[in-house]
C-alpha cells in the first residue's frame, strides 16, 4: 500500500515532519517501510526551486527553419516570457496559436533533469543551446525528465489552477509512504483509511469524509433500477451488489493530477474510466469494476441486461482481462449476465465486457464479496489483483454506494457522462452493528498502564467506534458499551479494543516492568541437561558439533544398506510438497547426514571428528504423529592427532578403539558404564562392530564403516569410525543418585599379571573374571599389554594386567595378596584354560 502525502492531506492536516509521521504510524502498527520523495529534498532528483517552476504557455510560434519544431513562449514569473524550441507533439498541434493559458513544468538554464532521450534515468544539466539556428535556454518538461514516469512522448500539462512562477517542488513535490500492513485489515488499504489513523494518532480532525458524498448528491437507491436487472443467486458469497449507470462517456486519458496520484500509488494509468475506478478504490478501499454496458446481455425474454451473481457451473470458462482463458470450479463466484460469465467476482473482469475506446455507456459495479471465497478463487486461479487483495481482507459493505456515486460523479466530470438518477443496490447480507462491552479495568489488566478514561473515549471515537458509558450490571462499576463501525469486522472482543487503545496511545509510553506475578514451580529438565552434558563431554573429547537437516534424501539412508534391501518409503514420513527430492523424507537415522558432512569437510582437512544430537522421526502405527526420539551420532576419520611438527605425533588413523575411548569417556562423564559386545549392522565392518549396552539397555551400535558404505558415501580409503546411540536411553539412566566411595588411607599393593588365553576369548571375559574373583580386595584391573607371537604360540594371546589391591581397614600383607592372586589364577585356568605367562 503506497500513499502519497499530498493525497493524505486532502483529509487531514499534517503538522509534523514526514519522518516523524512515518515513525508514529510505524509504532502504531502501520509499518512505513520506505518514504520516497518526489521532487523534494531527499528525492532521487530534487527539483531545484529556483530553476524548475510552474510555467504558462502563452503562444506557440512556428520554427523558422524546421517543420517538426515549434517555438513555445512561456511565462514563468521572470522579467519576460522565455521562448524555447520544442518538438513536443502536443505543442506542434498548437502551432500558430496565441493567447494560450496552458500550465506546464518549466525548467530554466542550469536545472538538473533526467535526459529524456537516454535509456534509463541519467541526470543531465540543462544548457543554453541553439536548435536549427534558434537559441533556446529553457525547457518544457516531460514526465520522464522530472522522474515521474518513463513517459517522454509529450510534455506534462498541469491543471489550469497551477500557480505560475511557483517552484514545481512546492506545487507537485510529494512524499510517498509505502506501508507494510500486517493482518487482514481492508480498512487500512485506502488513503482515507490511513488518514483516519493519522487523525486518531495526531489527535486531529478529519477535514472531510468522502463517504458522505451521498448527502451532498442525493440519489435514489433501489434494488430494481431501470437500467439493469440485479440478482444475487448466492448471497452467502455476495452480501451486497450495487451498480451505477453512466451514459455517454468519452473514453480517453485521465487528467494529469489523477495519473500522477495513481502512479505514485503504484498503479499504471490506462484510461479515464478505468483510472477512476482505481482512483476511488485507492481513495476509499472499495474495489470497483466498470463494464461496457453495451456488451451486457439480457436474459432470454427480458429487455434490460441482467447481472446475476452466482457460483460457477463446473468447468464454466471465461477469458479474463489479462487474455487468459480460465476454467472455474463449482465454488468460484462469478458475475454473469444474461449470456454467461462477465467477471470473476472480486478478482478480475472478463475481456468481453472490457472498457474500450469505443465504449460509451458504463455499468459500474460496486459490490461486496465474502473474503474467504475471494481468497480461495484467487489462490486456485493463481490470479491476484488490487481488488482481490482488498476483498480478501473483508471490505466494509457500507462502502458500495458511496464509492459508486463518487466514481460516477468523477466519470461525469472527467469523461463527460451522465449519471442515471438511481443506483441499483441489492443488500441481502446486511448485518446489524456489533456492540462490545468494555470494562476499563481490563484495559489496565492487559496493558499494565492506566490509560485515562477520556483518552480511551477519544481514541475509540477517532477510530469511529461509538462509545457509550454504562455501568456493569454485576459490579455497578463504570463500563463502556462500544458500537463497532462496519469497517472493523476484526473487532469482536474487549481485548480487540484494548489493542486499539494501546497502539494509538503509544507503546513508546509504556514503562517496562518486571514480572511481578507469582513465580511458577521450577522443575528439573533432565532431557535438556543430559543432552547439554553430552555435548560438553564430546566437545571435551575433541569432537565438533554439527546440525544437519531433518529432511533427507531416502537414497542416502539406503546407502547404509549396501547389500540391500533399500529402505521402504512406506515406512517413512514423506512431505507432500517437498522443496526438492533430496529434502522429501523425515530422517530415521543421523548417520547419512554425518557421513555427508564428513566427506564435505575432508575436502579441506584430513581429520574430521563430528557429532550431532537431534531427533529422528519414527512413524507410530495408528497414530497421526511420529515418535521423535533424540539420537546421538558420531563420525570420525583421519589421523589420530592433527598434523603437527612434533616428532612423536601419532599418525595412525582414528579407528574403532578411538571411538570406543570417546564412548567410555562419555559414559564415565555421565556416571555410567557400558558393556560392549560383538554387534551386527549392515553399515559396519562385520568384524569391527559392537553393540553397546548400559545397565542392560541397548544404547546403540558403534564400529568402523563397512567398506561398501564408505564407497557409497564417496569417502576416501581408511577407517571411518561411527556410532549412533539412542539418547533417550542415556537420558533415562542418567542422573541416578550416586554415592561417593571412601578413599582408603592404607597403602595399595600393585602387581602385574600376564595370562595367555585362546584368541577367541574376549578380553572382557578375562577382565571380568579377574575382577569378580579378586573382589573385594582387588580394586582395579587395567589391561596394559596385548601380545601375540612366538612366545605364546599360535591361536593364543597374552593379556597383561596391572592389579591394585587395597583394604579400607588395614595394610595388606604379602600373604593376603598372594592368596587372592592364587584364587584368580586358578579360576582363569579352570574357566578359560588360561596359563600364566612366564610361569611356564
Amino acid at each position: 500500500m503506497r500513499v502519497p502525502l499530498s493525497w493524505l492531506k486532502d483529509y487531514v492536516d499534517i503538522p509534523i515532519p514526514i519522518p516523524q509521521l512515518a515513525e508514529r504510524l510505524t509504532l502504531a502498527g502501520l509499518e512505513v517501510e520506505t518514504v520516497t520523495y518526489i521532487g523534494l529534498p531527499g528525492a532521487e532528483l530534487p527539483w531545484e526551486p529556483d530553476k524548475i517552476v510552474v510555467g504558462e504557455l502563452r503562444a506557440v510560434h512556428p520554427h523558422p527553419n524546421a517543420d517538426r519544431l515549434v517555438l513555445a513562449e512561456v511565462e514563468y514569473g521572470g522579467p519576460a516570457p522565455e521562448v524555447v524550441v520544442t518538438g513536443a507533439p502536443g505543442l506542434l498541434a498548437l502551432r500558430g496559436q496565441t493567447d494560450l493559458h496552458i500550465k506546464v513544468a518549466f525548467a530554466l538554464e542550469g536545472a538538473h533533469l533526467y535526459d529524456g532521450h537516454a535509456p534509463g534515468f541519467q541526470v543531465t544539466k540543462l544548457k543554453a543551446t541553439k536548435i536549427r539556428g534558434v537559441p533556446s535556454r529553457a525547457m518544457v518538461c516531460s514526465e520522464k525528465e522530472l522522474g515521474l514516469s518513463d513517459q517522454h512522448e509529450d510534455i506534462i500539462y498541469l491543471p489550469d489552477d497551477a500557480p505560475v512562477g511557483v517552484p514545481l517542488a512546492d506545487y507537485l513535490g510529494d512524499a510517498v509512504l509505502a506501508f507494510d500492513i500486517k493482518g487482514p485489515f481492508a480498512h487500512l488499504y485506502s488513503v482515507f483509511g490511513i488518514a483516519r489513523e493519522v487523525a486518531a494518532l495526531l489527535d486531529l480532525p478529519l477535514k472531510h469524509d468522502p463517504r458522505r458524498v451521498v448527502e451532498r448528491h442525493p440519489v435514489s437507491i433501489t434494488p430494481e433500477p431501470d437500467f439493469i436487472v440485479l440478482e444475487i443467486a448466492d448471497p452467502d458469497l455476495c452480501p451486497r451488489y450495487s451498480a451505477a449507470f453512466i451514459g455517454g462517456v468519452r473514453v480517453g486519458p485521465s487528467p494529469f493530477w489523477m495519473q500522477m496520484r495513481l502512479r505514485l500509488a503504484g498503479m499504471r494509468p490506462i484510461s479515464n474510466i478505468v483510472d477512476i475506478t482505481n482512483y476511488v478504490m485507492l481513495e476509499l478501499g472499495q474495489p470497483l469494476h466498470a463494464f461496457d454496458y453495451g456488451r451486457l446481455r439480457p436474459r432470454p425474454g427480458e429487455r434490460r441486461p441482467a447481472i446475476i451473481v452466482r457460483r460457477s457451473r463446473p468447468n464454466e470458462q471465461m477469458t479474463t482481462l489479462d487474455g487468459t482463458l480460465r476454467t472455474f470450479d463449482g465454488e468460484m463466484l462469478l458475475i454473469t449476465d444474461g449470456g454467461g460469465p462477465v467477471a470473476v467476482a472480486g478478482v478480475m473482469g472478463g475481456l468481453e465486457s472490457e472498457i474500450t475506446d469505443a465504449t460509451t455507456d458504463i455499468l459500474l459495479e460496486s459490490a461486496n464479496f465474502h473474503f474467504l471465497s475471494i481468497r480461495r478463487t484467487s489462490r486456485l486461479l493463481g490470479l491476484t489483483s488490487e481488488a482481490a487483495q482488498r476483498f480478501g481482507r473483508q471490505v466494509d459493505p457500507e462502502l458500495t454506494v458511496p464509492a459508486a456515486l463518487r466514481a460516477a460523479l468523477l466519470m461525469a466530470e472527467l469523461a463527460g457522462g451522465t449519471i442515471a438518477p438511481a443506483i441499483g443496490d441489492v443488500y441481502p447480507g446486511r448485518q446489524p452493528l456489533r456492540t462490545v462491552e468494555l470494562n476499563p479495568a481490563d484495559v489496565d489488566r492487559i496493558l499494565g498502564v492506566e490509560i485515562p478514561p477520556e483518552d480511551i473515549a477519544r481514541i475509540l471515537t477517532a477510530l469511529e467506534f461509538t462509545v457509550q458509558p454504562t455501568t456493569s450490571p454485576d459490579t455497578n462499576l463504570p463500563m463502556y458499551r462500544i458500537t463497532v463501525p462496519s469497517h472493523r469486522p476484526d473487532v469482536t472482543r474487549p481485548v480487540d479494543l484494548v489493542e486499539e487503545i494501546g497502539r494509538v496511545w503509544g507503546y513508546d509510553r509504556f514503562p517496562p516492568t518486571l514480572l511481578r506475578d507469582e513465580l511458577p514451580p521450577q522443575r528439573p529438565n533432565v532431557r535438556l541437561e543430559c543432552a547439554e552434558r553430552v555435548r560438553d563431554l564430546l566437545v571435551g573429547c575433541g569432537l565438533d558439533e554439527v546440525i544437519t537437516y531433518s529432511l533427507v534424501d531416502l537414497a542416502d539412508e539406503g546407502k547404509l544398506y549396501p547389500q540391500g534391501p533399500a529402505p521402504d518409503p512406506a515406512r517413512y514420513l514423506r512431505l507432500r510438497n517437498p522443496l526438492s527430492a533430496d529434502r522429501a523424507y523425515l530422517r530415521q537415522t543421523l548417520l547419512p547426514s554425518l557421513l555427508r558432512t564428513l566427506r564435505e569437510n575432508l575436502r579441506f582437512q584430513e581429520r574430521v571428528a563430528i557429532f550431532e544430537i537431534g531427533a529422528v522421526y519414527l512413524p507410530v502405527e495408528g497414530q497421526p504423529l511420529p515418535d521423535e526420539p533424540l539420537r546421538l551420532g558420531v563420525a570420525m576419520t583421519g589421523p589420530r592427532e592433527p598434523r603437527s611438527w612434533l616428532p612423536d605425533r601419532q599418525t595412525t588413523p582414528l579407528g574403532f578403539y578411538d571411538l570406543k575411548g570417546v564412548v567410555e569417556a562419555l559414559l564415565s562423564g555421565l556416571g555410567l558404564s557400558g558393556a560392549f559386545e560383538r554387534g551386527q549392522h549392515p553399515a559396519f565392518h562385520p568384524g569391527r562392530c559392537a553393540e553397546v549396552r548400559v545397565n542392560g539397555h541397548v544404547l546403540g551400535i558403534i564400529g568402523e564403516l563397512h567398506p561398501l558404505v564408505r564407497e557409497a558415501f564417496d569417502l576416501p580409503e581408511g577407517p571411518v569410525a561411527a556410532l549412533e546411540f539412542d539418547l533417550e536411553v542415556l537420558i533415562d539412566l542418567w542422573g541416578a543418585p550416586r554415592r561417593m566411595t571412601p578413599i582408603s588411607l592404607h597403602p595399595p599393593v600393585y602387581e602385574d599379571l600376564a595370562v595367555v588365553v585362546d584368541e577367541e576369548t574376549p578380553a572382557v571375559r578375562v577382565r571380568d573374571l579377574i575382577a569378580q574373583t579378586g573382589a573385594p580386595l582387588l580394586r582395579s584391573v587395567v589391561l596394559f599389554d596385548v601380545y601375540r607371537g612366538e612366545q605364546v604360540g599360535p591361536g593364543r594371546k597374552s593379556l597383561a594386567y596391572r592389579l591394585t589391591y587395597q583394604a579400607d581397614d588395614r595394610t595388606l600383607t604379602d600373604a593376603e595378596v598372594a592368596r587372592v592372586r592364587e584364587k584368580i589364577v586358578r579360576r582363569l585356568e579352570r574357566e578359560l584354560g588360561a596359563t600364566l605367562r612366564g610361569a611356564g
Binding site: R493, S550, P624
Partner: protein, 340 residues
C-alpha cells in the same frame, strides 16, 4: 710418612680438579677417602709407626683428610652449579614453535546461541520446555486462533505430510502443549526448537531454522511485563547500551500484538544496508496471548492473562557475528564452525 701424606694431598687435590661429574667425584672419593681409599690406608698403617711419630703423623693425616673433604665439598658444589648451568642452557626451547595440538571440539554456533538465550531467560524464571517438530494442523494453526481457511495461515508457507499433519512452521504450538500440561499452574517457559517453512534456500532464508518461543501465563501478566522482559533480553544479549522500540503488529494468536526492535547494532541507528536504512532491527514478534488461545490451553481468559514472544536464533547470531549467509548454519563447514 709425612712426605707420603703431602704427596697424597697434592695428588688428590690435582685429581679433584679434573672431576667434572658427580660420578667423577664419587670415584675420586672412593679412591682417596673411601673405606678402601689411599688416605684410609695411611691412617690404618699408623699403628705400624714408632709411638713417638704417631701424634704428628696422625694430626697431619687428619688435617689432610679435613682439607680433602672440604675441597671435595667445594668441588661438588662447583660441579652441581656447572651442571645446572649446562642443563639450563641446553634445555632452552624455541617457545615460538606451535604447541601440541589437542584442542577440544567446538559447539555448533546455534547451540552456543541457544545456551545464551536459555541463561538470560533462566535469570527471569523462564525454564526450557521442548515440544515436537511434527505437528497437527490443529496445534500449529487451529488452536492458535487460525481455524481452517483463516487468512493468517498464509503468513506461513507450510510443509505438509498429510491433510492434518505438518512440520511446525513456528514454535507456537508448544504454547498449547505446555498450557494443557501445566494447567492450573502459572507458566513461565521458553520453547526452543527447529521450525520449517516451504521457502527456497537462499542466503537470507532457510527451510529449516531455530526459534525460541517465550510464554508467561499468570493472574497479573501485562503488556508492560512483556516489554520489560524483551528489553531485559535485548540488553543482555545485544549489549547494555541498546535502545528498544516497541511497535504495534499483528499475529493471530496474540492480542494486542507487538514487535520489538533494537537500534541497529551495525550502524547505531544511522541506517545501513542490514537495517534497510531504518536504523532498527526487528528482534521479536510478541503480544498478549489471545483469549482464544488461553482458553484452548485451558486457562479462563477472564481470570488469566499471558504474553508470548518469538525470537529467531540464527538471525541474532548473524547480527552478532556479522554472518551474511544463513546457509552456513547447516552447511556444517568446520572452517565456519571452528570460528565460534
Amino acid at each position: 710418612m709425612l712426605e707420603q701424606l703431602a704427596q697424597l694431598e697434592a695428588e688428590a687435590l690435582q685429581a679433584l680438579e679434573k672431576a667434572q661429574t658427580q660420578e667423577d667425584l664419587d670415584r675420586w672419593y672412593h679412591t682417596y677417602l673411601g673405606r678402601k681409599g689411599a688416605l684410609t690406608a695411611i691412617l690404618r698403617s699408623l699403628g705400624s709407626l714408632p709411638l713417638e711419630e704417631r701424634p704428628a703423623v696422625g694430626a697431619r693425616a687428619n688435617e689432610v683428610k679435613r682439607r680433602l673433604e672440604a675441597a671435595c665439598q667445594a668441588r661438588t658444589e662447583a660441579v652441581r652449579q656447572a651442571q645446572l648451568a649446562q642443563e639450563l642452557e641446553a634445555g632452552a626451547l624455541d617457545v615460538t614453535l606451535p604447541g601440541r595440538p589437542l584442542g577440544p571440539g567446538h559447539l555448533h554456533i546455534t547451540t552456543r546461541t541457544l545456551r545464551q538465550i536459555y541463561a538470560i531467560f533462566a535469570e527471569m524464571g523462564f525454564q526450557v520446555y521442548e515440544a515436537r517438530d511434527v505437528e497437527t494442523d490443529e496445534m500449529n494453526f487451529g488452536l492458535l486462533n487460525m481455524p481452517p481457511h483463516h487468512p493468517a495461515r498464509e503468513m506461513w508457507d507450510t510443509f505438509w505430510i498429510t491433510d492434518d499433519v505438518l512440520l511446525r512452521t513456528h514454535t507456537s504450538p508448544g504454547q498449547i502443549r505446555v498450557m494443557r500440561e501445566r494447567y492450573p499452574e502459572p507458566i513461565r517457559v521458553i520453547l526452543p526448537g527447529k521450525c520449517y517453512r516451504y521457502e527456497q534456500i537462499t542466503a537470507r532464508s532457510e527451510h529449516q531454522f531455530f526459534q525460541v518461543e517465550g510464554l508467561a501465563v499468570g493472574r497479573a501478566i501485562t503488556m508492560t511485563d512483556l516489554i520489560g522482559t524483551l528489553t531485559a533480553f535485548a540488553r543482555r544479549f545485544y549489549g547494555a547500551e541498546r535502545r528498544i522500540r516497541i511497535r504495534g503488529s499483528y499475529f493471530p494468536f496474540t492480542e494486542p500484538s507487538i514487535e520489538a526492535d533494537i537500534d541497529c547494532i551495525l550502524c547505531g541507528g544511522k541506517g545501513c544496508r542490514v537495517c534497510k536504512y531504518s536504523g532498527w532491527l526487528e528482534i521479536a514478534g510478541a503480544g498478549m496471548v489471545h483469549p482464544v488461545v488461553l482458553a484452548n490451553g485451558g486457562y479462563d481468559p477472564d481470570q488469566w492473562s499471558g504474553f508470548a514472544f518469538g525470537l529467531g536464533v540464527e538471525r541474532p547470531a548473524m547480527l552478532k557475528y556479522s554472518i551474511d549467509d544463513i546457509r552456513l548454519f547447516y552447511s556444517n563447514d568446520l572452517r565456519f564452525l571452528h570460528q565460534f
